[in-house]
């Protein structure tokens, strides 16, 4: 899911960076600073999750957890993912500093979309409904991220259908894994720390 340096064209890199800056600004503005530790913990989880790697077909993919960040953090997923990806680029050379904006946008925007789409269902008392919403959030965030990645490559010159098909197909197992993981994690949090979900959806 990390696009390396030197792959994308300059306009794509610049617009990615600009949109990420905007998203991060919104995220910081909307953030309830009493919940800062939670954002930091989720950033840490995101940072570590990318090290779990699933070898598939011609390439290899890893857990992303942007859906989980989306439903738990809302717009604050932007700064959390930005920090996680910055550390990936600096410490591990995953992705790169020039492609940081595009990579952040590709993972954080789907997180926010899933927050709005599925977030309201997550607090539903009927646990089957809530679990399904969580699964769809985890699944959908990776799906949308794959499409965004395909779009980034397309804007640089690759054929969109081909690139997107390949990326979506490669990430299908990750989507399923993330859907299940997100559902379990959110159900667990609901039992142990229900207020984590109350705070963000109460406003």
């Amino acid at each position: 899911m990390h696009i390396s340096e030197g792959v994308l064209s300059v306009p794509v890199l610049l617009s990615g960076a600009a949109l990420t800056a905007a998203g991060t600004a919104v995220g910081l503005k909307k953030m309830d600073y009493d919940r800062l530790p939670q954002v930091a913990i989720m950033a840490a989880v995101f940072f570590v999750a990318s090290l779990i790697h699933v070898p598939i077909g011609p390439s290899s993919v890893h857990l992303i957890l942007n859906g989980l960040l989306g439903v738990l953090l809302g717009w604050s997923a932007f700064p959390a993912i930005l920090i996680g990806l910055t550390l990936h680029a600096v410490l591990f050379q995953f992705g790169g500093l020039t492609s940081l904006g595009v990579n952040t946008l590709n993972m954080a925007l789907p997180a926010v979309v899933c927050f709005y789409l599925f977030g309201p269902w997550i607090r539903n008392p009927r646990s089957a409904l809530a679990s399904t919403a969580c699964f769809l959030a985890g699944f959908g965030a990776v799906f949308l991220a794959s499409l965004m990645m395909g779009l980034s490559l397309f804007l640089t010159g690759e054929s969109f259908v081909q690139a997107a098909q390949l990326i979506v197909a490669a990430h299908l197992p990750v989507m399923i894994a993330e859907g299940i993981f997100t559902a379990i994690a959110v159900q667990f949090l609901k039992k142990v720390r229900p207020e984590v979900l109350h705070v963000i959806y109460a406003r």
């Binding site: 792959v7 930091a40 840490a44 570590v48 090290l51 790697h53 011609p58 390439s59 990936h88 720390r193």
Partner: protein, 209 residues
Amino acid sequence: MSSTRAKSAPRTATILTAVLLLLVAWPEAAQAHKVFLFAEIQGDTIVTDSYFSKSKKVQGGRIKVFDPRDNLLLEGRTDDQGAFSFKVPQKTDLKLVVEAGMGHRGEWLIKAEDLPDVEGRPVAAKAEPSGEAKSPEPAAQASPAVQVDPEAIQRAVEKALDSRLKPIAHAIAELNRDRGPSLNEIVGGLGYIFGIMGLVMYFRARKNH
């Protein structure tokens, strides 16, 4: 006060456990994100090896070779073993790029002085192309007193050195490049995240005073 402490303890514990579990799963994990390209010169051929990790080769990846002015000289695809080889196209610095799909890209640079002459005659005296291992080089300067074609000796020596040094060159390349994130880096990264959190909290607390 004590009640909030008691409340946050289980949460902290679960989150720490989750993070630790993720860390435990890490040794299997490495290298999902970077693609490596390794090239070595064997005679007048450049042999490349592209991989995500030791066990995961880049299959059907696109290899492109550029001259110093970024003109594309040739391109090809890696086979099932991640290998692709080609004749040295010209004696200039070469930039090799592998595109493994989905935004994965790796590079390898070859210096002009490491390349043999393109005409097919091996370049003089320089036996081992990879700069790191040059100790056996004196062996290449065969004594002129011997009544044998010195060029033949030189070729033979170069060939022998090439095959002998190949595993070493490989090992060096892997030491340099095939290194997953170390535990230090992971823990360091977590430290940065919580450090940033601490800084923000500190400045906000000061502002509110």
